[in-house]
């Protein structure tokens, strides 16, 4: 079996910033004493004069970024998802969201796959929090290709963008020809029995689930949903109508993230069974990331199980 190339999306984030900075002199990057971990350090190393460390003060950093954006300049702020979306939530809402400012929030170390740091650092609520802010765009890239594309797209976007990156190295799924567009889901596999809508590192698991289901004679449609907000309603409604059952999969609480966003659309437009795979309203704990993903049931086998349940339900 050939070795799959693996890159953590936080690494992609840092690389994309450094790449962009070569041709775009009009932005600065800020971090809150985590640049080595968030990988804004890659940018800092190449463009030290354009990097500002706020120290351990995420709320201040977010509002400072708003002030910079209010002067018409682009700015990227970065911290762990727990602190960017959690601790600084109200600053993101009031300083950035309300005035609809062009700030890119690069939130790393999202989800249970933070691993050993444990529950205080395993942010499972950020998609939910960010999704409720009017005008906020929320993106959860699946791999290196998509993460870099999301950063580039955010720079072209008018309004605030929250992008969620992971600590864990994940397989590179998409080639250089992959087209990323904010607000668009992507059908990765055709299928008619059930649709699996996945985001972030669950996309790779969904593709594995496709193979397992296929061997069992079940035709699953696989949709990658990088943008959680605005959610791609059309692709969801089409899937609901054509396959009659949906499973969502995300490395996030089952409350408020992709599963909720999809359920809202399906409930309003074309009610069919929607089963949500995610962290079931509980805190995480310390351990190796891959063990936690197994224990918390965020694997292809869990998707397969839910897909079968969803199919069974649609016939009732």
């Amino acid at each position: 079996m050939s070795e799959v190339k693996k890159i953590a999306t936080r690494e992609s984030f840092g690389n994309a910033l450094a790449e962009l900075a070569k041709t775009n002199e009009d932005f600065i990057v800020m971090d809150a004493d985590l640049s080595a971990a968030t990988k804004t350090g890659i940018f800092k190393k190449q463009f030290p004069e354009r990097f500002y460390n706020c120290g351990i003060a995420e709320q201040n950093m977010v509002s400072i970024a708003a002030g910079i954006a209010a002067t018409g300049k682009r700015v990227v702020v970065s911290s762990f998802a727990m602190f960017a979306a959690g601790r600084a939530y109200e600053q993101v809402r009031n300083s950035i969201g309300y005035p609809h400012l062009n700030v890119i929030i690069g939130a790393t170390h999202a989800g249970i796959s933070v691993g050993e740091d444990g529950a205080t650092h395993q942010c499972l609520e950020d998609l939910a929090l960010m999704r409720t802010i009017p005008g906020m765009t929320v993106i959860n890239p699946a791999d290196d290709t998509e993460a870099k594309a999301a950063v580039y797209a955010a720079f072209e976007h008018d309004g605030p963008v929250y992008i969620r990156f992971g600590r864990l190295a994940v397989p590179v799924i998409f080639g250089d020809d992959y087209k990323f567009e904010i607000g668009k889901g992507v059908e990765l596999k055709e299928g008619n029995d059930v649709t699996i809508i996945a985001t972030g590192l669950l996309v790779d698991e969904a593709l594995k689930a496709y193979e397992i289901l296929n061997q069992e004679g079940i035709s699953a449609r696989i949709i990658n949903m990088p943008t959680i907000k605005p959610i791609d309603r059309d692709i969801i409604v089409k899937a609901a109508k054509e396959t009659g059952a949906i499973v969502t999969a995300e490395e996030h609480s089952v409350i408020g993230g992709l599963g909720s966003a999809v359920s809202e659309v399906v409930g309003e437009e074309c009610p069919v069974p929607v089963l949500r795979l995610g962290v079931n309203d509980t805190f995480g704990y310390s351990g190796p990331a891959n063990d936690l993903l197994d224990i918390f049931g965020l694997r292809a086998s869990n998707i397969v199980e839910l897909a079968k349940q969803a199919i069974a339900r649609k016939n009732k």
Partner: protein, 279 residues
């Protein structure tokens, strides 16, 4: 400052106060006390100090102002209106459905408002960001902010102060409206931020303490701030909450309530009588 300029400023500040009272009365809610206390500082900034153009409110190289104590929006709106950013008549639409004059400053819709604010502690950070942007991109405009004395109980204020001091943002000047009252009582009773001057000094700021109703002192302090290198400036302005409306002065109850028709009439009568003496 020559006497003619001072006279004009006093007249303008009095008109600004009339605008504040009319606006809050019309809204039937809002924050008159802390608006009246900063009327003189704002008048000086917008009529004498800042490089701004009411005909071109988004002029890229303009000086910036952030009302970190955003609840004093009626003062900012009244100054902006009297300075010509929008019609003075608009002041009595404050807080009404469909008005651009939101309860707290809204940069998206109000000409002349450089930053949305209202959630305490965030405005000063935004002002720091603007000062940083000015320096980083070589624009050389100045940034002014007004903090409340109660507001500086917010931890974020000191995060911002630490950053501004560390990054030597000498193009930033922040006033502290030291009127000694907040919603629940005196700042000493609630949670004293004193000594305010020593705190800012400890964070690497140059500190000047003045009477916030004395135009000579406001001018001198701002001129001094222009000369300070490598440090942001904090101007601790001792003020009277509710200034120039007899029954509102130093009365904690006027932090966040509007005058009724009778009180409105009395307040306006007092301010108009004062304006007469200034003409």
């Amino acid at each position: 400052m020559n006497e003619q300029t001072k006279k004009m400023l006093k007249q303008t500040a009095c008109k600004v106060r009339i605008g504040i009272i009319d606006a809050v009365h019309s809204a039937k809610s809002g924050h008159p006390g802390g608006s009246l206390s900063i009327a003189d500082i704002l008048t000086y900034l917008y009529f004498e100090k800042m490089n701004i153009d009411p005909a071109n409110p988004k002029m890229p190289n303009r000086d910036r102002f952030v009302l970190s104590k955003g609840h004093a929006a009626p003062a900012l709106y009244s100054v902006l209106a009297h300075r010509g950013f929008f019609d003075v008549e608009l002041l009595t639409t404050l807080r009404h459905i469909g008005s651009i004059l939101q309860g707290h400053p809204d940069m998206k819709h109000i000409p002349g408002v450089d930053m949305s604010s209202g959630s305490l502690g965030q405005g000063i950070s935004a002002a720091v960001g603007m000062a940083l942007s000015s320096k980083h991109f070589g624009n050389n405009y100045k940034v002014y902010a007004i903090l409340g004395d109660g507001e500086i109980e917010e931890g974020q204020v000191w995060e911002a102060a630490m950053f501004a001091g560390n990054k030597k943002l000498d193009n930033l000047t922040a006033f502290v409206d030291y009127n000694n009252l907040q919603i629940d009582g005196t700042v000493e009773e609630v949670n004293s931020p004193a000594p305010i001057d020593k705190k800012f000094e400890a964070f690497g700021w140059h500190v000047i303490t003045i009477n916030g109703h004395d135009f000579d002192q406001i001018e001198d302090a701002l001129n001094q701030a222009d000369m300070i290198i490598d440090k942001p400036c904090a101007i601790i302005a001792k003020t009277i909450k509710g200034k120039d409306v007899s029954f509102m002065e130093n009365a904690v109850g006027w932090h966040g309530s509007a005058p009724n028709d009778e009180q409105h009439a009395q307040a306006i009568a007092e301010l108009k009588a004062k304006l007469e003496t200034l003409m």
